[in-house]
């Protein structure tokens, strides 16, 4: 149970960075990060999450593409416990 409290204290913050790689947006070929940097060629685009070391897949180009709030309790209201 002491461990539960430890988890409570650490559960609110996570420093895990979103995994990302620089890819060719047309082919999803993984490029050097320089291709995505501000001073770089600009040919690449950051691709978040997913898999692949030479060709990326299963991820997304837009971190903000996710829609949230489709489960659970609308802000400012209370649904009560989902437990029983």
């Amino acid at each position: 149970m002491v461990g539960t409290l430890a988890l409570t204290l650490s559960g609110c913050s996570s420093s895990t960075k979103t995994p990302s790689r620089c890819v060719d947006p047309g082919t999803l070929k993984v490029l050097d990060a320089h291709s995505c940097s501000a001073g770089g060629s600009g040919a690449g685009q950051w691709y978040y999450c997913g898999y692949g070391t030479t060709t990326a897949s299963g991820g997304t180009f837009s971190k903000s593409a996710a829609k949230r709030g489709g489960f659970g309790c609308p802000k400012g209201s209370s649904s009560g416990s989902g437990g029983g």
Partner: protein
């Protein structure tokens, strides 16, 4: 089974809070804003070992009968009896059941009426999102060790929960398991229960991530659920009922992307969808239909109270199929006298549109005005422990009930 009064430990509140029970003192549902001691160690229940051994057999048999009932429902397609009228959802539940060996399922809690003299009677099976887990697993065990170190307790919850996660690790997809609670519960019980199960999973060697249901995202581009760091949610334990999940805005996405084991989709949910067939009061009627006269079951019907409403009958409890914490239950005694919870104890209009189960009225036992219900735990299909909640102001156990520890002596 006996009830004993005892002087609480002077530091009981700080003690149980330090053991994880942060909702030991919560807001009084009857007196909003006032304090309410949910953890109550001013009394405890004592059982004999033979009593507990017999109850353990009852619990495991009831679990097996419940699985057989689910098999019957899927085989005969009686989903409408459970309020499941969407054919797509029915198909998902049926497939989840058929593939049940490929999806982790951790826990459930039977609520039983029992007074130590006759057979225990089943009131309901909380098989999807049971709570009152932390207090049953930890604080009551530590209470016993401190107050009655020579005694024993019906309690192997903590060890069994860890073993359950460890034993089902091979069923999990790659990556961390997300543990989701809803911010809709303002007392913190859902969050802490989720955290506790997350802690058990960590102790079993799983990598985990906590999240609120409200923060789960749907990524349109990849067509997958993501967390706040945009990691894919490949598996999620959710302390959030299935009937709410499939009624929410993301329900279509959930059904489209559901992993029913073996990477058949992109998100695997724990407890699995087939638990909708157990965590529904319609189960009580199917159990009685398949096992009429069983000593641990009460007569129960879906089409009305039948003979239970006869003038010389036993009376009945009308239970909303998806009701929670006693809300919406009506007890009709043979003389026609009706009881339901006071408005402060449960929103009577929240449940019932989905239908009712009519179960024979069986009063909770009365120990000096206190009415305990036995919450008997099942982990991995086996009996795992006991938690007792008590009311003294209603024949229906409600959200203002108190938790009392127990021991075996």
């Amino acid at each position: 089974m006996r009830r004993h009064t005892i002087t609480p430990r002077p530091d009981w509140l700080a003690t149980v809070e330090s053991q994880g029970l942060v909702y030991a003192m919560c807001s009084d549902p009857c007196n909003q804003g006032g304090p309410h001691a949910y953890w109550d160690e001013s009394a405890y229940y004592e059982f004999s070992l033979p009593e507990v051994e017999a109850l353990e057999e009852v619990v495991e048999e009831l679990h097996e009968l419940s699985l057989a009932a689910a098999e019957h429902v899927v085989r005969t397609g009686r989903f409408a009896d459970f309020g499941i009228t969407d054919p797509r959802l029915a198909a998902v539940v049926a497939e989840s059941w058929r593939r049940r060996d490929e999806q982790p399922s951790v826990y459930g809690r039977f609520d039983l009426a029992y007074d130590g003299t006759g057979p225990a009677k089943l009131f309901e099976y909380n098989a999807d999102t049971p709570t009152s887990l932390i207090e049953a697993a930890g604080p009551q065990w530590f209470w016993m060790e401190e107050r009655f170190p020579e005694a024993d307790q019906w309690n192997s919850l903590h060890e069994r929960l860890i073993d359950s996660w460890a034993g089902q690790k091979h069923l999990l997809p790659p990556g961390p398991v997300h543990f989701a609670h809803s911010r809709g519960d303002t007392e913190g019980e859902d969050w802490l229960t989720t955290l506790y199960l997350q802690e058990c999973a960590e102790q079993a060697g799983l990598q985990t991530i906590g999240i609120a249901m409200e923060d789960i995202g749907w990524d349109e581009l990849s067509g997958r659920f993501v967390d706040l760091e945009h990691r894919f949610i490949r598996s999620a334990f959710k302390l959030y009922p299935w009937e709410w999940l499939v009624d929410d805005e993301f329900a279509d996405h959930l059904l489209n992307a559901i992993d029913l084991g073996g990477s058949t989709g992109s998100t695997l949910w724990i407890e699995p969808a087939w638990k909708m067939l157990l965590s529904n009061k319609a189960l009580l009627a199917v159990l009685w239909e398949l096992n009429p006269g069983h000593p641990n079951l009460l007569p129960a019907y879906l089409d009305g109270p039948r003979e239970l409403a006869d003038p010389d009958g036993p009376g009945y409890a009308a239970k909303p199929l998806l009701g929670r914490e006693g809300a919406g239950i009506r007890i009709i005694e043979p003389d026609g006298h009706q009881t339901r919870l006071a408005d402060w104890a449960g929103d009577p209009d929240r449940y019932g549109a989905e239908g009712y189960c009519y179960q024979q009225y069986h009063p909770l036992p009365d120990f000096d005005g206190n009415r305990p219900v036995l919450g008997t735990w099942v982990v991995d299909g086996e009996s795992a422990g006991l938690g007792i909640r008590e009311t003294d102001d209603s024949p229906i156990t409600h959200q203002g009930a108190r938790f009392l520890p127990h021991l075996i002596r």
